[in-house]
Every structure is written in structure tokens, then in C-alpha cells.
Symmetry: C2
Subunit: 148 residues, 2 copies
DNA sequence: ATACAACAATTGTATATACAAATGTAATAC
DNA sequence: GTATTACATTTGTATATACAATTGTTGTAT
């Protein structure tokens, strides 16, 4: 991925700006590939995320706060994400009996089955995105990203 | 930035997934900081981008295609971005006389003046975001991001 | 000259995101 | 017990993004 080429600019960009632009460009690519991989299942990356978190609960119900805390993008409106998953029959939502302010969200059998397929899809997408990276590269990348 | 801590998860994530999640988390942070820096000027990062591209034209007018090609996020609806800048008096838009399908967009004096202020703001934001990076780190980061 | 394809920008629409306000429930103070 | 505050979620609304359809203009073939 060549930054100057993508931006069709000939003049060099300062290292600092270039790094951040680079990051945004890479993010856009990553996001597009995830989205297009999930598209045929009519599910967004955030919805997939919710399902994966729910599976991680091992049957234990999660409330909205828990989901929100574990989401990659915290500012997603989790209520509406759950709404959509509910319509598709991928999750259950019930009022928590011991505290009626809370809700208990669990993944359904259908949700789990779909996840198995999506896992495969997402795995391929990630392999694809990271095709040019060695293990060492990835460790290195993680270390650098930690500096943010 | 610690990925596991942000996602409130105790179990380790596979290196590949972790790298991509890490990237998304960093992007979110970068984006939020840009947005909040520009907020008091009621301008979005994409709008700022358009202004900066126009200044780079050195007086020469740009049409929509040119802008679009040079945008960091190509999928922005440039027509509407320009609409908004127009309302604010930061750009001019005229039909191209030699080819009435095209439009000619230029930055106004007000636009240039605002940009000078924004440059300072953005510069500070970028310094802030990259505070923990050495030059070497940045070069390294750019090299790794190139692998995408 | 007319028809047709290609081009450049705009518009429409569905979905997503950001953020504030509102709703309903529970806990606490008095 | 009533008022007040805090809590958990939902709703409202403005803005942004994704993508397809439409409009108006130009170029080309016949």
C-alpha cells in the first residue's frame, strides 16, 4: 500500500501525518474487507462482534453494559444492534428478574450455528489481510500500536 | 494501549485477530481525537481534508473527481461535503465553462484563513497522538503498514 | 442530424454513528 | 413513606457513510 499513490499526490508528506494517514487508509481497507465478507450474511461487523461476545459468555447471559464494555467500538448503539439480532432470531433478550433495569441477552442455537460459518469467513478475511506479515511482523506491529 | 484491558477480556486473543482489533482500536482513538479537536470549528475531518486538498491546488480549481481521488476516505460523498463548505463560505463552486458536466471548486480567503488555524490544531493533535513514538518507530510503523 | 454510450455530478435511500434526552427501576436519605 | 439520586436501557435526532439510481452534458457512430 503506497500512501502517495493512493492520494495521487506527488509531494512528500511529513512522517507524522503520513503515519496517521497510513493508519486510516489501512483501517479503511480492513473495514471494507470485513464488511464485504459479512455482506452475504447481511450482518455487520459490530453485530458479529456482539454474537462473538455472547458466545464467549458460555451460556451465561450478558447485559447491555457488559456487551458495551467488550465491544471494539464502544460508541455503537448496542440497544439497536441487539434489536437487529433479535429480529433475525440470533439472540434472546429478557428482562433481568432480579433487577428489572437490566436485560439478559443470550445467543440462540441459530446464532451459534451462524457464528460457526462466520468464523470461517472472518478467518479467511484475516488471513488475506495479513498475507504479507510474518509472525515477527505482527508482534512488532502490536508493539508499535501499543504506543498509541 | 492494552487490547485485552480495553475489551475487558481475560483470555488471550490470537495474534492475527489481535493485530486487526488493535488497529481498529487505534483508529477509533485517532479518529475521536481528530474529531474532538475540530469540533469547536464545527468542521469534520473530511471537510478539513477537502480544504487542505484545495489549498494544495495553489489557486488552480479542482473538480469533484480530483477531490475524490485525493481524499483519504474515497467513499465520502464529496458533493455533500462541498455543499457544506459552500454554506460556510469556505469554498466556491462554479460550473466549468469548457465542460459543463464538471464543476470548479476553489478555496476562499475565509477558507484559507480557517485552514491556518486548523493546521495548528491538527498539528497539536498529531503530536499528542504520536507522543510516544520516536522517528525510528514511525518509519518502522509505516513500513509495516505498507504490508497491507 | 439522431441515437447511443460514456462521463461528471447530484439525488435518494438505507444503514451506521454520535450524542443528548427521556423512560423506567432501584437505592438512599430524611 | 416521599423525595431525590443513581442506574440501565431506550428513544430521538442530527450527521455520516455506502451504494444505487437519476440527471444533465458531451463524445461517437451511423
Amino acid at each position: 500500500m503506497n500512501v502517495e499513490q493512493i492520494l495521487k499526490t506527488e509531494k512528500p508528506i511529513a512522517l507524522e501525518s503520513r503515519s496517521l494517514i497510513h493508519l486510516i487508509l489501512v483501517y479503511n481497507k480492513v473495514n471494507e474487507q470485513y464488511a464485504s465478507a459479512l455482506k452475504e450474511y447481511e450482518i455487520s461487523l459490530q453485530q458479529f462482534n456482539v454474537l462473538r461476545i455472547l458466545r464467549g459468555q458460555k451460556g451465561k447471559a450478558a447485559n447491555l453494559q457488559t456487551l458495551n464494555e467488550r465491544m471494539v467500538s464502544k460508541q455503537s448503539n448496542t440497544t439497536r444492534l441487539v434489536d437487529k439480532l433479535l429480529v433475525k432470531g440470533l439472540v434472546n433478550r429478557e428482562v433481568c428478574p432480579s433487577n428489572r433495569r437490566k436485560i439478559e441477552i443470550t445467543i440462540t442455537k441459530e446464532g451459534k450455528e451462524l457464528l460457526l460459518e462466520l468464523d470461517r469467513i472472518i478467518n479467511n478475511t484475516e488471513k488475506d489481510l495479513l498475507a504479507d506479515f510474518s509472525k515477527d511482523d505482527l508482534v512488532h506491529l502490536n508493539n508499535l500500536l501499543d504506543k498509541f
